[in-house]
């Protein structure tokens, strides 16, 4: 690929040569000599550059290491610096004298320190390294795609860009809580059962006395209450409380409604972080923790356990949930293409080359019958033969002679009127006769040709041509990536829906977020996800069916917008409560919505917008914002009231409401029966 510098140089050299080889070379031989020398130099540079490029390109190797705490890791922790080390090795025999490398950082992440760029020369078998630091504020995923390599000769005449792909997904686990964070709450009771055990007011093998009853043969003698037996003059046995582990079941919402937001700052990320804190604190107290992830279609369960491996697995599941991207929904084709094509240009430059991804001009030609009015041009062709028969009949019977002569006369006069100086000679008459003949006999073909040409030529004009070019290139890339049949290319070219769906998948595969459309064409919120209520209710009832003792269900979900669709969840919560399980709901609270009851008037704000006052034309934005805020708060209050009526507490996740407070509430919900 020639740079503009290269184009100008070769152009001047060729002009000198071609001029010099004519007679000018005899007058001034220095000109062709100069031109030939420059052409020779250019050819040598081109050959060397092409050889180096072709020789080393297939032998480039990338190695990527993710380091945390100085050690290579398979998954990173959020809120901790994470070092990315990329090593590029040229296994070819030739040296690349000047290379610009850029490691593509995950979408939406910024390099904290170090650099993901490097300018170097690539010598055979001498690896070069890039090292930089990333940091994620929340759980999710780091998607590394590969390294962008730009190769250029020292004079800057030739240039090539390739993308060495080495995709790697690194899960970013929720942050590890420190020793302080693991403390559940303040100590409130002085009873100290062993860690992981909690009293249950049922007969069991615990240490606390529950009741006394008459001796039944077979009871262990050590449980006989001798003093009570002496008082009543019959054998009395002590019945102890049951010491059971408490199972905490987390229900994490990973539906579309909680995936919306910038990378690393989504509601599901906050919920995952809260869930992680709860899980780690519970695990530190040797409680069993399980996880149920659900969305609007399905749920999956991780059964409660207390091992460290289980906790890590649980954190991985949380990170996977936090990494999910929202479905942007039915988007305009061009909007998606405007995002997908630059991505393909960046990551698949060699696949956009016309040698492997051709763009013949017939691709752009618009077929006549693809238009709605194309039939108007084709229809006369169908009636051509009957028409010819009719004209023949007229001529044979002498009816058409006069109109034909009049047409001929009209053509002659028209020609003369348009060009008065046109000499009325034999040529004009011949032209008029031919034109008349063609007009009478071949006008359907002429009309068809006219329509065919002017319909088709529109496809070769911009912006239609550029759009079609991009579409063809992307379609072929999709087919190659999917190993699909070649016919699929034409399918993508013709079927807008399939093409848009595949583009969406292409963007999702590379973790590119598209700003979703929150409202549909009817003005309704598209991400209510009412179907998740049924899925969540089924998951709760399933957990109740599998439960052994009193369990704690923590539902981390966005339920505020569900409104009347909340009924299945309320029913499931009622079932859980009837089985003496505790239920708690954690809601992700938007950052820009003040908590209910808080003073909405900011310090710097002079005028307060009131909903009960008539709308001022100068404050529609504030008015809408306030209306939405109030609506959200009211829905939240309603949800809290309904759940409180069933005995389930509701907690908001906000920036100033950490896991510690949530755990405190969980402990209180346990009825102060725990060891703290």
């Amino acid at each position: 690929m020639l740079t503009s510098r290269g184009w100008w140089t070769v152009a001047v050299a060729m002009v000198l040569v071609l001029l010099g080889l004519t007679g000018l070379g005899d007058i001034a031989p220095a000109i062709p000599i100069l031109g030939l020398t420059l052409v020779a130099w250019f050819a040598v540079e081109w050959l060397v550059f092409s050889y180096r490029f072709r020789n080393a390109l297939p032998r480039l190797e990338i190695e990527r290491e993710i380091l945390q705490g100085g050690r290579p890791v398979a998954s990173a922790w959020a809120k901790a610096p994470c070092t990315v080390r990329v090593t590029l090795t040229n296994r070819g025999a030739s040296r690349w004298p000047l290379v610009f490398l850029r490691d593509r950082v995950p979408e939406g992440r910024k390099v904290r320190s170090g650099s993901n760029r490097l300018v170097t020369d690539l010598k055979p078998d001498e690896p070069v390294e890039m090292e930089y630091e990333l940091r994620s504020s929340a759980a999710g995923l780091f998607r590394f795609e590969g390294v962008d390599v730009r190769l250029i000769d020292l004079a800057g005449l030739f240039y090539r860009r390739v993308f060495v792909r080495s995709p790697l997904d690194v899960l970013v686990l929720p942050p590890l809580t420190d020793q302080e964070g693991k403390q559940r709450a303040d100590k409130r009771m002085n009873t100290l059962p062993p860690p992981g055990l909690h009293r249950l007011r049922r007969a069991g093998g615990g240490g606390e006395l529950l009741d006394l009853r008459e001796y039944i043969p077979g009871d262990p003698p050590k449980r006989i209450a001798w003093k009570a037996s002496a008082r009543r003059d019959k054998l009395i046995t002590k019945v102890f409380e049951s010491d059971v582990p408490v199972r905490v079941m987390l229900f994490l919402d990973s539906s579309e409604s909680v995936r919306i937001g910038p990378a690393g700052d989504t509601p599901v990320g906050k919920l995952a972080e809260t869930a992680s804190g709860i899980a780690q604190a519970a695990a530190a107290s040797r409680d069993l923790v399980g996880l149920t992830r659900f969305d609007e279609t399905a749920s999956d369960v991780l059964t409660p356990a207390r091992t460290q491996v289980h906790t890590i697995r649980l954190l991985g599941k949380l990170a996977e949930a936090a990494a999910k991207l929202p479905n942007p929904g039915p988007r305009d084709l061009l909007e998606l293409q405007d995002v997908a094509y630059p991505l393909a240009q960046e990551m698949y430059p060699e696949l956009l080359n016309h040698e492997v991804n051709s763009r013949p001009w017939v691709l752009y030609w618009l077929p006549l019958l693809d238009t709605r009015w194309g039939w108007l041009f084709v229809l006369p062709v169908f009636v051509w033969f009957p028409y010819l028969a009719f004209v023949g009949y007229l001529f044979v019977n002498g009816i058409a002679a006069r109109p034909a002569f009049q047409t001929f006369n009209f053509v002659v006069r028209l020609t003369q009127a348009l060009r008065p100086r046109f000499p009325a000679d034999v040529g004009l008459n011949l032209f008029a006769a031919l034109a008349t003949f063609f007009l009478i006999v071949f006008w359907p073909a002429a009309l068809f040709g006219f329509g065919w040409f002017f319909t088709g030529i529109r496809g070769l004009l911009n912006p239609r041509k550029v759009r079609m070019k991009k579409r063809k290139q992307l379609a072929t890339i999709f087919v190659a990536l999917d190993r699909d049949s070649p016919g699929r290319i034409e399918h993508y070219l013709r079927d807008d829906e399939s093409y848009a769906e595949r583009m969406g998948r292409f963007l999702a595969d590379h973790h590119v977020r598209i700003p979703p459309k929150l409202y549909d064409h009817l003005g309704q919120y598209r991400y209510r996800c009412e179907a998740k209520a049924t899925v969540l209710a089924n998951a709760i009832i399933g957990s109740v069916a599998r439960a052994r003792d009193n369990e704690l269900y923590v539902i981390l979900a966005d339920l505020v917008d569900l409104g009347d669709d909340l009924a299945p969840i309320l029913k499931a919560v009622r079932v859980a409560r009837s089985r003496h399980h505790h239920v708690m709901v954690v809601i992700p609270w938007p950052d820009d919505v003040p908590p209910p009851g808080a003073d909405t008037k900011a310090d710097g704000e002079k005028k307060e917008v009131r909903l009960d006052k008539p709308l001022s034309h100068r404050q529609p934005g504030k008015f809408i914002h306030l209306a939405l805020t109030r609506g959200y708060q009211q829905r939240y209050e309603k949800l809290r009231t309904e759940l409180a009526r069933l005995g389930a507490g509701v907690v908001r996740v906000t920036l100033d409401d950490p896991v510690r407070a949530v755990l405190d509430r969980i402990d209180r919900l346990r009825g102060m029966r725990s060891r703290r």
Binding site: I33, L34, L36, A417, P486
Partner: protein, 327 residues
């Protein structure tokens, strides 16, 4: 993170020029310009040496990136016309008795060295890699991609001079070959050596100018063709999996495009029809339209159409009347 301080591009360029690692290239560029000046001066004209040198100095000092090729073009121009525009005079002829002249060697070497060195200076101080972004995405304070001066090796300048000398020898040999070989289509193979003597005329052969022109075009075309062929085949040998898949898919598409297009058009049409037959959601009741708007539009449209028809008829009648009166 604080934003990097924006530096004036010309100042940054000059800062790099004064870098001791880059200075070698600056000196080589200036020296080459000096040699060009001297070589041009040998033709007996001061202006022939001064103009290319001045252009070259602006390219080096003021970072005018288009100037190096202008400098080369100016050098060639003053070779043909050493005194500038030949007003009232004739173009001086420069008959040679030999194809190898020290002045030509010097000039060609200096020009090649100048171009290489000047372009390398640009890579170090101005821009090494073309910016692929569309102009609307570029910002004034973007840092250009430059070559790191630390990457300059000690062998670079000697290699540069050696390569320049080699290509100058190749250029001279090419000129010699093109001058001494003529095309003669009366024999097979249709090339032969030119007859000796300065004014010797080759009977039956093509004239020397056309002959060397054709020879160069043929030789250059063949060289490019074979080089492209070799690299094309090499590229096919080193395709990766996705590229090979692309080639197959694209070839298959080109072969079956017409049939597939027909099928897919009908399929898309079927989908469209099926979707149209689905029950549509009830639209929200709208406010009743004001009946007079449509009526007004309709009436004005009809009036306009009638007016256009009348205008066309009147123009046609006028043309006919004018035509009939003239006759």
């Amino acid at each position: 993170m604080s934003k990097a301080k924006f530096e004036n591009p010309i100042r940054a360029y000059w800062r790099v020029l004064f870098d001791e690692r880059v200075r070698t290239y600056v000196v080589v560029t200036a020296a080459a310009l000096l040699v060009i000046f001297v070589a041009q001066l040998m033709s007996g004209s001061l202006i022939a040496g001064a103009v290319p040198m001045a252009i070259g100095l602006t390219a080096l000092g003021l970072r005018w990136v288009g100037m190096p090729v202008v400098c080369v073009a100016a050098t060639a121009y003053f070779q043909a016309m050493p005194f500038g525009i030949p007003i009232g005079g004739s173009i001086p002829n420069d008959p040679r008795t030999t194809h190898f002249r020290i002045q030509d060697l010097m000039l060609a070497t200096a020009v090649v060295v100048y171009l290489i060195a000047q372009y390398r200076v640009y890579s170090l101080a101005h821009l090494a890699v073309p910016d692929e972004r569309l102009p609307r995405y570029r910002r004034g304070d973007d840092k250009p991609d430059l070559r790191d001066p630390d990457l300059i090796t000690e062998q670079e300048v000697p290699q540069l001079v050696m390569m320049a000398a080699a290509v100058v020898v190749v250029g001279q040999l090419l000129w010699f070959a093109l001058s001494e070989i003529v095309l003669d289509f009366h024999q097979m193979p249709p090339i032969r050596a030119r007859q000796p003597g300065l004014f010797a005329r080759d009977r039956d052969a093509l004239n020397p100018q056309a002959s060397r022109w054709l020879l160069f075009v043929l030789a250059f075309g063949l060289l490019v063709f074979f080089a492209r062929l070799v690299f094309w085949y090499w590229r096919l040998r080193t395709l990766n999996r996705v590229e090979a898949q692309m080639v197959l898919a694209d070839t298959g598409w080109a072969e079956m495009r017409r049939e597939a297009a027909r099928q897919e058009t009908w399929r898309a049409w079927g989908k469209y029809r099926a979707r149209r037959r689905l029950p549509r959601p009830k639209p929200k009741p709208r406010e009743p339209r004001k009946p007079w708007v449509g009526a007004a539009l309709m009436r004005s449209g009809v009036i306009n159409v009638i007016a256009v028809v009348i205008a066309i008829t009147m123009v046609g009648f006028g043309v006919w009347l004018f035509d009939s009166r003239r006759r």
